[in-house]
């Protein structure tokens, strides 16, 4: 609003667009590659590029959380899952189902809807970023003051998920006849 123009781009904006293109391309490769491990690695690029976008929007805390949790934990879990289930390393042509066109149509429609809505709502508005607005301190104050109850409730959710995962997956060798065995 303050005399900014879409024609006089700054370095940050150019970087933002370029990183966005990288994220989009990596995401496309993730879903089109025929090699599962490659898909996981392209996912790293896509999620990492997203983290850079957050950083460029001054949301530094969210950016590092994105790196730690998505790039670090989720993708590593994914790779471990692939290795432990002995998924084939190399092309796996049977990974494509015949629902591919349908899935593509749904993805394109969803993307079109969201892009239209957001672009229509904000149109040419210029948003000036304030450094520090996304810092760990600002986030911490928000989380532990205004949002303390949802934050604590999330820990309850994690506890319930943990108990559920144990219930569903723990196996003990049953010894017939010994039905009052000591706890393990």
């Amino acid at each position: 609003m303050s005399g900014q123009s879409f024609l006089s781009t700054s370095g940050t904006e150019i970087a933002f667009v370029l990183v966005g293109i990288v994220a989009l391309g990596a995401a496309l490769l993730t879903v089109t590659t025929r090699q599962l491990v490659h898909a996981a690695l392209w996912l790293v690029v896509a999620l990492g590029a997203l983290a850079v976008e957050y950083l460029l929007l001054t949301a530094e805390f969210v950016a590092w959380v994105q790196v730690l949790i998505y790039v670090g934990a989720v993708v590593v879990l994914l790779l471990f899952g692939l290795m432990l289930t002995r998924a084939p390393i190399g092309p796996s042509p049977d990974a494509d189902s015949r629902h591919r066109p349908l899935a593509a149509a749904v993805a394109v429609a969803a993307a079109a809807l969201l892009v239209t809505v957001v672009a229509d709502a904000f149109r040419t508005t210029w948003i000036t970023l304030r450094p520090g607005a996304g810092s760990a301190e600002a986030n911490g104050i928000g989380l532990f003051r205004a949002w303390v109850l949802p934050f604590e409730a999330l820990s309850v959710l994690l506890l319930a998920a943990l108990v559920g995962a144990i219930v569903l997956s723990r196996r003990r060798a049953a010894r017939p006849g010994v039905h009052e065995e000591a706890d393990d």
Binding site: L114, W147, V156, V167, S169
Partner: protein, 552 residues
């Protein structure tokens, strides 16, 4: 102008707090949150019981911890209501995250009672065939990780293991349900939704019999539920983009123009697309949970596959919690948008009532029939939501209380009718049940008549309340459709009654297990609530009426 300094000062926002300000401790009203906290405490105690109490004593300890926790939570709700938190002292607690008001307390009280009755059915151990070595067998898989039909599974069953973790999981689900209709902002609403859903997904997978069906139902419920959650979350993001706040009351203020919308929005467009599509996505997420028609596909499969006591608990309690949240969202955050949401909800309600009633006619499985019946009832409840007046709120509150006890009772009766393969849920197996065990058949007939909405049952009072509220709110055509659908629905309820009492019993027909005091109490409470709310509904109407004002 900075995009981050746009929220009104009174409205807290995720990113607006000044970085240099010292951190003030948040203000938490523990007393007003006590129903939720007591239930969570009992759930955590249940986990500690799993860890430290010897296997032999676990079942009894878990049941005691659960019931004591529920009693404590109910006492807390009654205490809060008695000291005026439902009416004069109604307020937002925990930094605006939880609304302690009439509808919250009414629904929380209902949910706790429903869970208490549901836990009695869940705790039943006398229905499955037993042996001398394994004297107590419940409805849950002895070892969920064992491959169905494998040697492991048989060994675990012989060893007499049981999954007593269902008690804390039920309490976790309940805690989410207590948060859900009381949420004061969209973030808390979403987290409540997740806390109530996750334990239910898990418990659906734990059936002792027909385990593949049970696991399939859990995966279906989980995937479709995750899809609905994604819609809900995206809707939340869009509404935040529109209003610059997540508070339900704050959003309402922006909609009415009392507060400025997100100033980064284009001034000419006012971001109506954000508001409409965001609101629609959130409502879609909630309609999925109540099982309304385009989002009902999971209901029959999950109701059929889940262990029957869990189905009863889920069918009753989820509906109460989700309709409470739907009411709060539509009446607190989007009341000024009702000219936009009412036509859509009309369509959803008509489709839900019609499809639920018509497809139920073709069902041959009791659990699937009750699932479609629950879809039809979601439609009846939606007519009360559409009413858009205070009477509509109180009618929906009453209907939820009445319907949930009928559902619990009906599913508890389904657990009793058994043959060698477990529960005999095929309708043809119920032929002539009335001659073999009149008491069970008469009780089930009572629940079916209540579902159908026959006078002197709670179903009639509930339907009368929602339909008259909808008629008063100007939705007369909807009421006509509702009455027609009730007539169609009555057809298949009465058909089951005819089968039970007038068909010849089969030689190889199922036997009716004699329940222990637990399931017996659950069915008796369900039947008593059905009759009392049908014959003397006035006190409950008064209570619901007093409790029908939302706090902003």
């Amino acid at each position: 102008m900075s995009a981050t300094a746009v929220a009104a000062p009174a409205v807290h926002s995720l990113w607006t707090t000044a970085a240099a300000a010292p951190i003030h401790a948040p203000k938490i009203e523990y007393a007003q949150l006590s129903p939720i906290l007591v239930v969570l405490g009992a759930a955590v105690a249940g986990i500690l019981v799993e860890a430290f109490v010897p296997r032999r004593a676990r079942y009894g300890t878990q049941l005691a911890v659960t019931l004591i926790g529920l009693a404590g939570a109910f006492a807390a709700v009654v205490g809060l209501a008695a000291t005026g938190y439902a009416t004069t002292k109604a307020d937002l607690a925990a930094m605006g995250s939880i609304a302690v008001d009439g509808p919250s307390l009414f629904l929380q009280g209902t949910l706790i009672l429903v869970t208490a009755v549901g836990v009695l059915a869940i705790a039943e151990r006398g229905l499955e065939p037993q042996s001398r070595e394994v004297p107590h067998v419940d409805a849950f898989a002895p070892q969920a990780a064992a491959v169905p039909g494998s040697e492991d599974e048989k060994a675990a069953a012989r060893a007499g293991w049981s999954t007593t973790e269902v008690f804390p999981l039920t309490l976790f689900a309940l805690s989410g349900m207590l948060v859900f209709p009381a949420a004061g902002d969209l973030l808390t609403l979403f987290i409540g939704l997740e806390i109530l859903s996750l334990p239910l997904y898990l418990m659906c997978a734990l059936a002792r019999r027909r385990r593949l069906l049970s696991q399939e139902s859990a995966v279906k419920y989980f995937l479709l539920g995750a899809f609905a959650s994604a819609f809900f979350l995206f809707g939340t993001a869009l509404l935040y983009g529109y209003a610059g706040t997540l508070d339900l009351g704050g959003i309402a203020k922006v909609v009415t123009g009392d507060a400025a919308p997100n100033a980064a929005l284009n001034a000419s467009a006012h971001g109506d697309a954000l508001l409409l599509i965001g609101g629609a996505m959130i409502v879609m997420g909630l309609l999925f949970k109540v099982g309304a028609v385009p989002f009902h596909a999971w209901t029959p499969d999950v109701y059929q596959g889940a262990p029957t006591p869990i189905t009863g608990f889920m069918a009753a309690a989820t509906k109460v919690a989700a309709f409470g949240a739907l009411l709060r969202l539509l009446y607190v955050a989007l009341p000024e948008m009702r000219w936009d949401w009412r036509p859509v909800m009309w369509g959803v309600a008509i489709l839900t009532m019609a499809l639920g009633a018509i497809v139920a006619v073709t069902q041959t499985d009791v659990k699937r029939m009750l699932a479609y019946s629950s879809i039809a009832h979601a439609g009846f409840l939606l007519t009360g939501v559409i009413a858009g007046n205070k009477q509509g709120v109180s009618a929906v509150l009453f209907y939820l209380a009445a319907y949930s006890f009928v559902t619990l009772g009906a599913f508890a009766v389904v657990t009793l009718v058994r043959d060698a393969g477990g529960e005999a849920t095929h309708l043809s197996r119920w032929d002539g049940l009335g001659r073999r065990s009149p008491l069970v058949a008469v009780t089930f007939a009572l629940f079916l008549l209540a579902f159908a909405g026959i006078p002197l049952t709670s179903g009639f009072s509930g339907k009368f309340a929602v339909f008259s509220a909808a008629a008063k709110g100007g939705a007369v055509p909807l009421v006509v459709v509702g009455v027609l659908c009730s007539a169609v629905a009555a057809f298949f309820y009465v058909r089951v009654i005819v089968r039970m009492f007038f068909a010849e019993p089969r030689a190889d027909g199922p036997s009716v297990a004699v329940p222990s005091a637990l399931t017996g109490t659950a069915i008796a409470v369900g039947a008593a609530a059905t009759l009392v709310l049908g014959v003397f509904p006035q006190w409950a109407f008064d209570l619901a009426d007093k409790a029908s004002v939302f706090i902003r």
